[in-house]
Symmetry: D3
């Protein structure tokens, strides 16, 4: 919130959240995903938090692997990677790997995390990605984590009557204002990561149990980042599908108390905005 | 069914169902949605019915609000709004606000409603809308209600062996012929609401518990409706994603008894039509 | 794997799997779907297997029909049709018609089938099809079967730690390399079925309980196939949305043991590939 | 209701329902259970109906048995047996064998059956039987069917607001007045079946798919019936755990309209009766 | 905890909890149940709290009754009755009437209530009561509420790692020491209610929507209370099935910090106690 | 099967299974339970296997304990204890601590274990124990594990059509012949453990994370075992509720192939036996 937003397209995306939360399905997802953007934002003053829905207990080649020991190992790896990136902390929700569903239980956990950390932006896997440009399937857990992150961010986290015991116990409603969706087929903004791509690779190295041929990983990451960066004229970039829930000026209005409205699920302002932007075709500006 | 269908595109949509049912997730959704189209159709002789899946029991700013009292209040507001529009009746299914799922229970309820009222067209939220043109999230309840409405309309309502006790008890299979999906990112038809936009605003006013700044709501509704109307050269319009399940001439054939087939889920005519229109790439006309 | 892959577009698709599995929701879906492609591939040396998730126990017009007798009848019809096409066998999973869900139970059944038969390619209904080009609804069971087939094919079937008892009991992990999705709104490849369209019609004839006016079915099938074929300059074709999970050269590398990796859910190679092809925007080639 | 009730203990139980319903988990349960009592009551003028929750699709020795064909066979056997006993009809609910649960779905089905047939008494397996006098386990389906039968009989069937659509569609609330629980470890009443034990054996013979050594079955049935009959001084008897929900004189009062109360779940008369008979220790008379 | 415990049997039960919580399925259950004991304990200095799992939304004779309005009415009635008894407060959990299940959701709600109010004793319906001495069925909701109350009281409320977010947010583990189960077939203690039976009747009168013939209710309550009292030689009594989880001297030891152990689910002291008292057959004293 | 069975009552129980399986909810349950009996049987030539449904991940006093690390620690402790007793192996099912339910998933896992190890007897917690002689609550997980063990042992493990894929893949049906239920309020047999009580205490010592005051544990175990032993005139004993599913002579008959019957769920021999022993009141001998 310290810089102006660049228009979508070929210019660099420079808006930056003061606080952001990455919600991922498995350990290592966040590092294959937006780790370099997270590193850059943290370097520039943002505070980040990582939430892993599962601990990756099904991520090995031997069916006799002890899933609990594997999960413990992968948590250690993810904590080490998170230290490289610079997150303030990591939460593991211990949901089952391979069986993640966007149900009320997962959403309540995520709302708890969101209301505790109170991020301006949530970064999550794009739930609309079923196939990666027809070159692979997006893991069912990624889709579930993405849907749950979106639903938790809006409207649940901002609705005091959703899981009302949370608000009663001090976890007040909180409005996440933006979603940055990674692994999307609809990239709308690009972040220059020339300065932090090495941090991303260092973070990935921490996931040793999942890496067999790190040279190949590094080669792939560098190639693809270069391609996304090409449009911006930079050496490396990460791309996102950006969804703006609340504009900055709306926030200021709210901060001023002028016309502010707690977004209690169905309050009219957001409803009208939704209705208008879709039925009525309001231009994006 | 009293007027010819206009081709999709920039011309006004003039086909009108003799009977239609609006299926909404929460009280007020139908009024932020297609209330002006519903009003116009009713004025012109159609009969409408409204189904609210939840009673909006999570729609307030104070977590200590009594959800049952809030639900009762919102039902009264929705009944008042429905009177403004002119629906013949309203059904509340009392599903939980914020926890709607497209499961067999919700579908059976909707099939019961559809077979009782026997609408030609169902109006529902477009379930494919996850984001409103990247300017907001479509509430999980809206998506669930949309999916359930679509599935109930086809094939369940028309399949006598789906929930077979319903048919045995007199709720005979019924074929919904069209879906009008609102809050869509894929508007294919536009209805001129110049004559009924004020009724829509009056209906919205009935939802007093949800409105803090009605002037702002009115301004938004008028602006967006004007934009959708611009393409038609009219002062105000509502836009829909139209899905035609049965063409009018198919209906007539059925009414004649010539080649008629109850569409029992997997009967060949509809199956062939589906197979053809998708695998084979039949043009849309 | 005996022929080179043609580039997507207007040229004929000539890649052919040595072994393929068709996963369908109901008896007759596979025959309205890819029966002619399956027939051609089998004629040319491929081995095929058919899995029906339900036995179509809700597919009749009389609510007093005995669903178990109907299911038994439809299984006989499907077995007869499968003989016409030439599948090596058919499995019925006996899931409930009209109530199919993509849950762990269905996925485990499908993984069992996949690991037993070990197909190179899985053919299934495209789960992203909600509406058939706005001319009909894609049955909820079709969508559920499609999602479950995709998730079972990747990553579950190839992850030895998914349902680990299966691997321990001898059902070793298996990598499905391609998905051919039928009833798609996004056709990317076309197969010439001029030589086997009559077999498809013969297979359809076996579903007598579902056919009232076979002439009409035949007319529709022939018209639509002709349309899909027109782009290729052939008399008849079937179209698919192709998703390539593993390229052929990746397979060879794996066969050589060079850099091979069991794709244990989250292994880095596939993860990096996914991350790259989506976040980074790698071109499709 | 045509005879006086005998006191519990060693005297013959002579009360007889005008209409009764047997609720069983599997085909053949009703015939191993109260078939001779049912036969006698029918001979004396009662009308009986049989409900089978499952069709016994898991009841064979070969895992490759087609469960649908087996179910169809067992339904035919059960219908033949029901003809021997003289039931007015049989309903199969087609729940899955081995997976029966006392959930809302099963209860709604049973309430539908009860309100349609309107029995005075329901006969079901005693849900409290986990072990048969420490000589065997009572099948989980038997326990589930017993619990569901009890809950459906009271309070659901008599509460118009339970599944309220049923009452609205004409299935008016109905008060089952007595439960006769078979396969109980707590026999409280005995019925002389000397005159109908042969009918029971004839009914059992109809379940040919389940019988390997009918002589052994016959020997067992005769021995055990003789033992139960010994206390009464009769050649053969069946024993039940009787639960009286409404006394006959309560019914008459209700029929007279004096102090009648629809037992709407929590209405005070039954509640007070319950509270009194348990907290307060009212004697059994 | 201010008086010595009387031995079970025919003497009056004089132990009294400093704080107690009544957990009931429906409004009015607590008043048909232990209202007079609660009144007496409150008069003597105890503090009480009432939790209603449902709001009784299915408790009326007309299927067209609005369940939300009925629930709101019954909550008002229950609050009025609670004022008569003198509870410090009432919580409604808004679970569905007729569909209560002892699942994790209900248990978490009850643990939240227990850890907030921190009662020494929980009063609940005896979950083992399926039939009221063979003169009626114990409502499925009563059994579910009873099981959930027992499980919430032990071990969940006292295990800090059960729903660990609760402890982290300040709802520290709490040990309920006694269960008083009403509507039991196994009365082990009796409380003299001669002085408060009129308060119980006043509380019952507040449930006007559920009462048609209050004279009959009063007559029944008085008769049955007299019977339970007869054994004690008092005019009226309520009976309970008492389960002592922690003896008073254990508490004192804990209060002293000597050998104290948070009962973390499986900690050895309680485990050993359990193992011993059951496998080993320790006498009841 | 090497010794004659003693009549129930005060004589020592000397029947011994050649193979037995202990099914427990948590690590340490088996050691607080029948560890000394297991040790003795193993010393005398039996082969034993231990199945833990959960890994006790909720068994600590600090809500911030990492549940995965705790589970891994407790598995190590349980493996050490199992070595003391002499089990041939231990299986952990990794179900969630505190949330165990007797559903199809747990039952399928247990059937897999039973059919693999093929025990004559299963030892499990008595599912009918809700309260330990009114001195404590039996943990909900214990009840769930007990019910699941009973249902898996009979009829599921012996029914080839239950989870038919298991039999097809080589896990042939297996008949468990006896259940020994520990932590029961209905002890019917006693085993002299004078020679192995020290082994039980050694096994318990391995659960160091759960033990704070081992002297107290040892004192309790010794006292209670002495009490159970008193009736037998021995220094220490463990008591069980014994349920005989198949008598030894039935087995022999089966082994001879005379009148043998696979107990396919509902086959007549076992059904008749059940029906007879309960409805008809066959004496226990």
């Amino acid at each position: 919130m310290t810089e102006l937003e660049a228009p979508p397209g070929q210019e660099e995306h420079t808006w930056r959240p003061a606080r952001f939360m990455v919600i991922a399905a498995h350990p290592d997802d966040a590092d294959f995903g937006p780790a370099a953007t997270a590193s850059r934002w943290i370097d520039e003053g943002s505070v980040g938090w990582l939430v892993c829905c599962t601990s990756g207990d099904a991520g090995a080649e031997d069916p006799d692997t002890d899933p609990l020991e594997l999960a413990a190992l992968r948590e250690r790896e993810q904590r080490a990677a998170a230290d490289v990136v610079g997150y303030e902390g990591v939460t593991f929700l211990h949901m089952p790997d391979g069986a993640l569903v966007n149900d009320l239980i997962l959403r309540e956990h995520l709302v708890r995390e969101i209301r505790t950390f109170r991020p301006d932006a949530v970064l999550a896997t794009d739930p609309e990605t079923l196939f990666h440009r027809d070159r692979g399937v997006n893991h069912t857990d990624h889709r579930a984590a993405g849907f749950a992150a979106v639903d938790a961010a809006y409207p649940v986290a901002r609705n005091p009557m959703a899981f009302p015991w949370l608000a009663r116990e001090g976890l007040a409603a909180h409005s996440v204002r933006r979603l940055y969706l990674f692994w999307s087929n609809t990239i709308t903004v690009r972040v220059d990561i020339s300065g932090t791509i090495d941090r991303k690779l260092d973070a990935l190295r921490a996931h040793a149990s999942q890496l067999k041929d790190f040279d190949r990983v590094e080669r792939s990451i560098r190639e693809w980042s270069a391609e996304v960066g090409k449009d911006l004229g930079v050496a490396a970039a990460e791309g996102f599908h950006l969804v703006v829930i609340d504009e900055d000026d709306e926030d200021e209005a709210e901060a001023d108390g002028a016309g502010a409205a707690a977004d209690a699920g169905e309050l009219v302002e957001s409803e009208a905005a939704e209705a208008g932007s879709t039925t009525g075709g309001r231009p994006g500006s």
